[in-house]
């Protein structure tokens, strides 16, 4: 319990088993997909370029990563749209005014 609390407030260093687990997860993503972290970064850049042709996105918050679920690897992309654009109410038109 103590160790859980310590971890909660981020005081304890990770155990060597935890390090092993995290390192394994990372290296297996690369092994399984044959996509190096460097290539993944380049791909992310290209994907952003394509999306930008169609949408205004918040580029600083884009996260594209490979994720393991069971024995399958998924390319998961979180691409937030520019907030202003989504929530900005459409400008009023004459037509709107005319409605009862």
């Amino acid at each position: 319990m103590a160790s859980f609390l310590e971890r909660l407030i981020g005081r304890r260093d990770p155990s060597s088993a935890e390090l092993a687990r995290e390192r394994l997860k990372l290296v297996l993503v690369t092994d399984r997909s044959d996509l190096s972290p460097d290539k993944l970064e380049r791909m992310q850049g290209e994907i952003i370029q394509v999306i930008r042709k169609y949408l205004e996105i918040d580029e600083t918050e884009v996260a594209i990563k490979l994720e393991q679920r069971d024995r399958k690897t998924y390319l998961v992309a979180d691409v937030p749209l520019e907030q202003d654009r989504i929530y900005k109410p459409p400008p009023k038109t004459d037509e709107d005014e005319a409605k009862p």
Binding site: S15, S16, A17, E18, A20, R21, R23, L24, K25, V27, L28, D31, R32, Q68, D70, R71
Partner: protein
């Protein structure tokens, strides 16, 4: 189609394939199965010494493949159990002396007369592994709770899953030290399962008796006295025969399983 062919493999060397093959073979024979184990590690034969049958070898697998003897003549009977045979590897030959097709033909000859054929695969992902995989109906992948062994297991599992025919794969985690797991200095069974996500067949603890048994050439599962690893191998063998032997792992930090195990008075991890 007779016998099931089960290949025992790992990717990484030294994780316990030969030890497991010998102990499972003996256990399965004591469970009244007719068993043959095949040493597919051509050029690095070892199953014979681990089983203690090295002095009775006349012919080997390559002699059979190259037609110098009949299959029967190369099989060494283990007289300590009812129905167990070893087909030894050649020691002085290269692994290319045998092809995957040879392995399929050879096991097909054995299927009629036996219940289980265990193939002890060499390390690696090349020729020897391909030979061992070709005739397999099922595969047991062995790993240790260690970064490099788990990584290699993942690679092997990936290669097996990439095969055109679907081969069921299960995992055996060997050399678990519950004390180190509790201290947070060894990957737990759960950690390994979370990473590899395949069916868990069993867990074998680190056990000094393994070394002693290989010194003597008497697999642990032949001994009357119970040892943690010997019991774990016997449980795995029973699972292989389809018996429902619950998995109890004691290496989780205060996990439910551990508490349950304590409640039921089990002593070690299996």
């Amino acid at each position: 189609m007779g016998a099931r062919v089960i290949t025992i493999t790992s990717g990484k060397g030294g994780v316990g394939k030969t030890t497991a093959t010998a102990n499972l073979a003996v256990s399965l024979a004591t469970l009244n199965k007719k068993v043959v184990c095949v040493d597919a590690d051509i050029g690095l034969r070892n199953l014979d010494v681990v089983m203690g049958l090295e002095n009775r070898i006349v012919y080997d697998l390559v002699d059979v493949v190259e037609g110098r003897c009949k299959l029967r003549q190369a099989m060494v009977k283990d007289k300590r159990v009812p129905d167990l045979y070893l087909l030894p590897a050649a020691q002085t030959r290269d692994k290319t002396a045998v092809s995957p097709q040879d392995m399929v033909a050879l096991t097909d000859q054995l299927r009629e007369d036996y219940d289980l054929i265990l193939i002890d695969s060499p390390a690696g992902i090349e020729w020897g592994f391909r030979n061992a995989l070709a005739p397999a109906d099922e595969v047991i992948v062995i790993t240790n709770p260690e970064v490099s062994a788990v990584r290699d297991a993942d690679r092997i599992i990936g290669l097996i899953e990439a095969e055109e025919r679907r081969i069921p794969v299960s995992l055996m985690i060997n050399r678990v030290k519950p004390e180190m797991v509790r201290r947070g200095d060894m990957l737990s069974v759960n950690d390994v399962m979370e990473i590899l996500s395949i069916r868990l067949l069993g867990v074998v603890p680190e056990d000094q008796e393994i070394l002693i048994s290989s010194n003597k050439g008497t697999p642990l599962t032949l001994e009357d006295h119970k040892t943690p690893a010997g019991e774990a191998f016997l449980n795995i063998a029973r699972r292989v025969t389809g018996e429902n032997v619950p998995l109890i792992s004691l290496d989780q930090k205060g996990g439910v399983l551990r508490r349950l195990a304590r409640m039921f008075g089990s002593s070690d991890s299996t």
